[in-house]
Symmetry: C2
């Protein structure tokens, strides 16, 4: 008999079907016993004449159940399985470290992380990751229809991507190599080939501090596009991408994970960095926004624009990487932006330099040897269009979307100073 | 004026349009001069009154051209731009290391690799990578509609994935970590969560030899699914995935890259390992197939089944990893397979063990400490369904598909013993 998924049961009333999944929960009520079976689509109730079979089927044991689909209003999904025949597909499972059948997962972060291989089975956790996976699908879908080409750039690199700090060193056949901190240089090079590119892949940062927002490895959703006027064109694509990410998320996962979907206006509101400082009453000489400033700006965007997103443009040049394009008319400012999501930085982006002479000058000013960037500079020597891009941290996106206060709650197997397993 | 792509010109005859792209080639024919402009969609011809402007626009300079779309049978795409106004968007480009305008790229591999940032602009090379990108899109599309969830598993791991050999060591905050050789253990764990998962990401092998088929870093397309009967169910999904990958590839790229598309039957032919040895006249005690055997089997599949693909199942257990499921009735053989594509191994897959007791025995037999696999074994202790999966090397897929004899020709920025840049 072909397998039926739990989610398909309402269409099979009166039929004999085969379910396969995990024992979600066993329940005895006087003379009747119930078995809840969980598969990737949901949980179904199985009615057993007596509960004798349950002793050999502890929670999380994998089973097959043949039974008759019977309408029953009070059961999950309005159906249950009657006259069942239950077969074990695995040996009886050990007792899980957390009670996976409880609607809420009420345990501390260390337990969640130590037992990740099992804890991710909790339905609210599954939903949280499906939201991440759907977001990535939406990201790609938007870019695919807009003529972007997906690239895969090397993670083993000969020099640090953007700065020597926070870089992991690899023993590469007896000499040092480094783990790419971002695909920045490669995605720019590939604009010279495909004009519009994206990459979804791991990046590595040897973060020396343990914070709730940083990891040693995370998934970066990177975009870069050519033939732009300035960073505002990049921001427009970012808005479309975020809309596409939200559109892919299933309503059922939103409910399960308890997510409040954000307000994303058709055009993301923009404020200049110097006006942002003024708005929050900060010293006009500040080179960056403090977390408290970002929170205030988030509240302001909500109030003034009914938007959970706010772009701050014109960041000071001294706080931005060498490839950042200056602001026309003010060389101390840049055509770059941060996107705040609910008052926290989510995305950094902007326009890049595209003339070889500008790169040579920018690197010389920072005292960086050109040789380190030889392949990168080659692209600019041979004609590059005005271009720009952005990067979204996937785990941060999911954490801010689902309002989880630690990025480790939305990372499958987080890596930090302390943690390298599971 | 909004930008028009070269590929859209045939629909704009008689209109004034704005093209943006690279100077592909300049040509002077007596009193008339031509400029070929390349963008991501193709190459267009621009007719210039005289060629004076060309001196300042060497090949690969980025330009904008406003002009009138005029039908002309002999021009590429049947149209050309007349009465043009040309503006440079970048400084004059340096002479490229290869002649990008020539239809064929007739240079040796070292030149291709040393100048990758520019050489990928060659139209045949662009097409080659677009074939790779389209294949990945097809891979995901097939799996998305079949209920698979995309995962991103850590590349920094505490222990070697499958064996201590060929693993890169990372200085991880003062202690050793390793680069994941595959997402094998994590994708199996995630079958316990989502039943069906896939991942497209980098894997790392410290390959000690320079061969035309191995790299230190490559993109692995990984699939794992639960609730299977045996490896034949895995093979069926593989067949659907390959069909989906081929279906996504654009005919134009096939032409540009000179690809001969393979014959993929609805059901991939299967031969048992022991019969395969017999077919090629090898010693029945051989534990593996030599390259020459694989070539002979490829020819046999072509002749007997009109198929460019052949699955060899039942590989000897001693040549397979500890997690491989044995063949029922013959513990020296396994429920695993290799997929040969045009007589070369492309995919390895099969059914895995799913009972904790079998894992404990398999690891003990190989003298491996259970502690190394603690998180992995946790998943099996708490109920795992019968499952299996496979992995396709993206660069190898593209190389075999496009019949390039070195995997470096289908890798954006290859990494090997010698090469860490560009």
């Amino acid at each position: 008999m072909l397998r039926t998924l739990v989610g398909e049961l309402p269409d099979r009333i009166g039929q004999r079907v085969l379910l396969q999944g995990w024992v979600h929960r066993r329940r005895r009520l006087g003379a009747v016993a119930f078995l809840l079976v969980r598969d990737r689509s949901g949980v179904a109730q199985v009615v057993l004449g007596d509960g004798a079979v349950l002793d050999a089927l502890p929670e999380e044991t994998v089973i097959a159940v043949e039974g008759t689909v019977t309408a029953r209003e009070q059961a999950p999904g309005g159906v249950e399985l009657t006259s069942p025949q239950v077969t074990a597909l695995s040996a009886p499972a050990a007792t899980p470290p957390v009670q996976l059948w409880r609607p809420a997962l009420d345990v501390g972060l260390p337990t969640v992380l130590d037992h990740a291989p099992v804890v991710w089975r909790h339905r609210t956790r599954q939903a949280l990751w499906r939201i991440a996976a759907s977001s990535v699908r939406g990201f790609r879908r938007v870019l695919d229809v807009r003529g972007f080409t997906e690239i895969h750039t090397p993670k083993l690199v000969g020099g640090a991507t953007e700065s020597g700090a926070n870089v992991f060193t690899v023993d590469y056949f007896g000499r040092p190599a480094y783990l790419a901190q971002s695909p920045q240089l490669y995605k720019q090079i590939m604009v010279g080939v495909f004009e519009r590119v994206y990459e979804t892949g791991p990046v590595f940062r040897a973060e020396p501090h343990d914070t709730s927002r940083h990891l040693a490895e995370y998934v970066s959703l990177d975009v870069e596009l050519g033939f732009i006027d300035d960073h505002r064109d990049v921001l427009a694509v970012l808005g479309e991408v975020l809309a596409g990410m939200l559109a892919e998320i299933a309503a059922e996962d939103v409910d399960l994970a308890g997510v409040r979907l954000p307000a994303l206006p058709d055009s993301i509101p923009v404020v200049h960095f110097r006006d942002a400082l003024r708005l929050v009453g900060a010293d006009p000489a500040e080179p960056d926004l403090a977390p408290e400033h970002e929170r205030l700006l988030g509240a302001w965007a909500q109030e003034q624009h009914r938007s959970d997103f706010l772009a701050v443009e014109g960041y000071p040049a001294r706080k931005r990487p060498f490839y950042t394009h200056p602001e026309p008319g003010d060389p101390t400012a840049t055509n770059s932006f941060d996107l705040l999501f609910r008052g926290q930085e989510l995305v950094t982006g902007g326009q890049r330099l595209h003339e070889i002479a500008d790169y040579e000058r920018a690197l010389a000013e920072r005292g960086e040897p050109l040789a380190t960037y030889a392949g990168y500079l080659d692209a600019f020597r041979h004609g590059m269009p005005p271009h720009g891009g952005f990067a979204i941290g996937l785990e941060r996106w999911t954490a801010q979307l689902a309002q989880r206060d630690n990025i480790r709650q939305t990372t499958l197997f987080p890596r930090d100073r302390q943690r390298l397993t599971p």
